[in-house]
Subunit: 356 residues, 3 copies
């Protein structure tokens, strides 16, 4: 069904539905799945540490009866001796049956998929993509609400830099009747290309700078970290930060059926006393994430798609991606590849767009 999960946008709505459905089945009957990956090995290659995500993958594999190898610290790995990504992937894909990798460079998972003999799951590539977080979010919504359409979805905090926010918006825009309420400071609004996607999808959206105002109509509130350094000045931070902290007072404005999500870890954008409110589902969300990853691993190992050779299109009008954090600018052997649309080229690894 899936050979790799690099970008959730490459997964059809049908396939996404199948993953969600399986996650629900596993949650309902974990015993039925506890031996189904016996003898299989998941490698978790974390070129930058993320204990939470790594443990979620490890737990998912273990609850399917499988085992795990991996690293969480590049300084302890062969990488520190200067080994390139290709060689590491070539070798690990000889050891393991499936690989989940996190890497600081954008496009790294895509690059790995060119060389791997086993499925690659993108567990985060720099600020670019983190598809299993979005999978976690939609499994949570489906389980907690019962549908993925006709929802009023509030997103609050740093909407400019948050890859999970962008990915969730893109995914939810594929379902009918969803409306987005975007709450942020002026400096941290969603980027233009996300608004273009929303317009193209026909989804309604509104922008707000005050959480309390937006609160009463929401079915879903997706909170994100807001970082002090994102504000233009310390005074600006102090003036505004409280506006974006969810506390019991603001929560009292919300519907009884509201669901509050957060990708975690939080800093202080949700106050601790909100945790006891039944509408707070961010801790359950982490458990849904485990089931989502179980479903994903199960399907990739047991129902693989027909393997096709990844073919990268060449475009010789440019010879390098101008995103300094693109994996192609770190690993020189990688074939450059761009997708052409009008007068724009999009890097096939990191999705960076360049004028020709």
């Amino acid at each position: 069904m899936l050979n790799n999960l690099i970008d959730l946008e490459e997964v059809s709505t049908d396939k996404l539905g199948a993953i969600i459905e399986l996650a629900c089945k596993i949650k309902a009957n974990p015993e039925d799945y506890k031996e189904c990956c016996r003898g299989k090995i998941l490698a978790t290659l974390f070129y930058e540490p993320s204990t939470r995500t790594q443990m979620s993958f490890q737990t998912a594999m273990m609850r399917l009866g499988g085992n795990t190898i991996g690293f969480d610290n590049p300084m302890n790995s062969s990488v520190a001796k200067g080994e390139n990504l290709k060689d590491t992937i070539k070798i690990i894909s000889g050891y393991a049956d499936i690989i989940a990798m996190r890497h600081p460079a954008e496009g790294a998972a895509k690059a790995a998929s060119l060389f791997s003999d086993v499925p690659i799951i993108n567990a985060g590539d720099g600020g670019h993509l983190h598809p299993t977080q979005t999978l976690t979010d939609v499994v949570t919504l489906y389980n907690e609400i019962g549908r993925l359409d006709h929802l009023k979805i509030g997103l609050c905090g740093d909407l400019k830099n948050g890859r999970t926010v962008h990915s969730l918006i893109k995914t939810m825009s594929h379902f009918e009747g969803n409306e987005f309420i975007l709450v942020s400071t002026r400096d941290l609004k969603v980027p233009g290309y996300i608004k273009s996607i929303l317009k193209a999808s026909g989804c309604r959206y509104t922008e707000h700078d005050n959480l309390s105002d937006a609160m009463p109509t929401l079915d879903v509130l997706y909170m994100t970290r807001i970082q002090r350094e994102r504000f233009s000045s310390e005074e600006e931070y102090l003036k505004q930060s409280g506006v974006y902290v969810l506390d019991t007072k603001k929560l009292s404005l919300g519907k009884q059926s509201l669901k509050i999500l957060h990708p975690l870890p939080r800093v202080d954008e949700i106050s601790s006393d909100v945790d006891n409110d039944p509408r707070a589902v961010y801790f359950k969300q982490a458990v849904y994430g485990m089931y989502a990853r179980m479903a994903l691993i199960y399907l990739m190992l047991n129902a693989p798609a027909e393997k096709k050779q990844v073919k990268l299109p060449a475009d010789n009008r440019v010879n390098r991606c101008d995103n300094p954090n693109c994996i192609t600018n770190r690993e020189s052997y990688l074939p450059r590849a761009f997708k052409n649309s009008g007068d724009m080229l999009t890097c096939m690894y990191c999705d960076n767009r360049m004028l020709i």
Copy 2:
């Protein structure tokens, strides 16, 4: 039987006996237990590294057929991103079936137990408690000697700062007829509150400053690390340190039935040639520790006590614990709680006692 193991003093002598008995049964018939935690996951959350203890827990879980996740280095974990203990515990208790945690702050395991959905084992909280070490010690004594009462127990080294020493004294004082021979420098004597416990229990004890003098009558000799910096001066250290090193000469003064224990790692307080003496059981002690942990994990997963809501008593005459290393002074959302006895308040997390 047990929901959490935070402090061995909270475990009744009957329950302690049941754990010891099970440890003996597992040691005798490991095959009978090798699949009994199949499909279960132990999380070992080590906020400060302790490879030995962590590997003992991991091995214990694996020898029951279970699996493990965890971390050993807070710098690689979400903790480094500022996540509080509550959130980490909330999430990990959604992944794992049981948690063993070590933390530098006193009372941290207690705090974790307030939020965890699964059993918590305290694998060391700062200088406060380390109950599975004491469990290891008593399983060793019971196996090697056949009883836990009417023993002459020598303890030698740093008796002032050693949490394992205090915990062993408290536990062994519950058994009839035990006598304690306390060997240390004047500066490293057991604290007054331990002597009060001994007096209250009716156990006899004597204090000595010379190991050789104490040696001939002992059934048990529990050695501990003595640290150079604990002496008042370098000359004092050089003058006295040899007095507390167990070598074959001093050992020759001991009974043939003597058993020598040490919580390990040792530095040089037991000389290497003592290792070959059959009375040296400190390496076997580590193996008993594995069986003790197997018994504990087995019982907590298979014979849980009725879950009751932990209720912390409030006392509003003080609003914070004055132990700077208490977990409540690191994690501000924790409810403060004190136990009142006369004109003293005892912190329910770290057992720090304060005058009202």
Copy 3:
């Protein structure tokens, strides 16, 4: 069959043949072996990090149905608290059924074998030995070529310092009719004692300074890292380094049946475009390494040799090994031991030879 694997030279050709044969059987029928170490634990004690090798051992154990514990960073382990090798090994051999260890000091695995209650596999001891790499190499050759004799074996790069090169030469010199083509700079030639071994074995060898010249006759080309700092000057490096880089142009001079091996990681001594040539087997070599380690672990756990007390010969004409990196110069409790041959003494730990 084997109690420990410290030095491949201590393994008879018959036993080596049995390991290779089993590795082939496991590769052909992995399903038959996937539960055969169920319930067993491998400890991977890596006193210096080597993610690749450690993951190879972990994968091998898991694919036999077993489990693993271990560490990869001495700074996180009890070692950092000053625990000596003996105590660590004593304790870990109480937890695990078999130990694979890497250590920066030469002779460390030998030293560990004196104290361990379970089999020790040397996973690298400083610059001294790395027997499972050589086992990997011969399993690769046997599988890819079908025989281990009558081969023209080229070795290229740093032939002076490479422990894998020396070990492979020694092992292959036991098989009939092998011929060695040694390609290196003058400064990086194989040491005299290796040439003595070759002469004694009756194997022919020739030395070359140019890879292209040697290429056409080779059945096997074993490439190794060449390090910039090994050249006498930067100009020398720039002048010569290209001579030792295998690229498609040089490869075109090789036979169609040539097999190219490399212990990995590589830096730039094999250009990336060689990877697609079917003669490049260095990535497959890593997979053979996993099967080699599976065979080794299986045999050590299931067909142990009769356990005999290791007896170290004493020679009181010298009282310490003069190799500063010998484990005996780091761990003072170790009994010194030397083998006497004529006017030379050989350290039984690190094989350092001293004139009496």
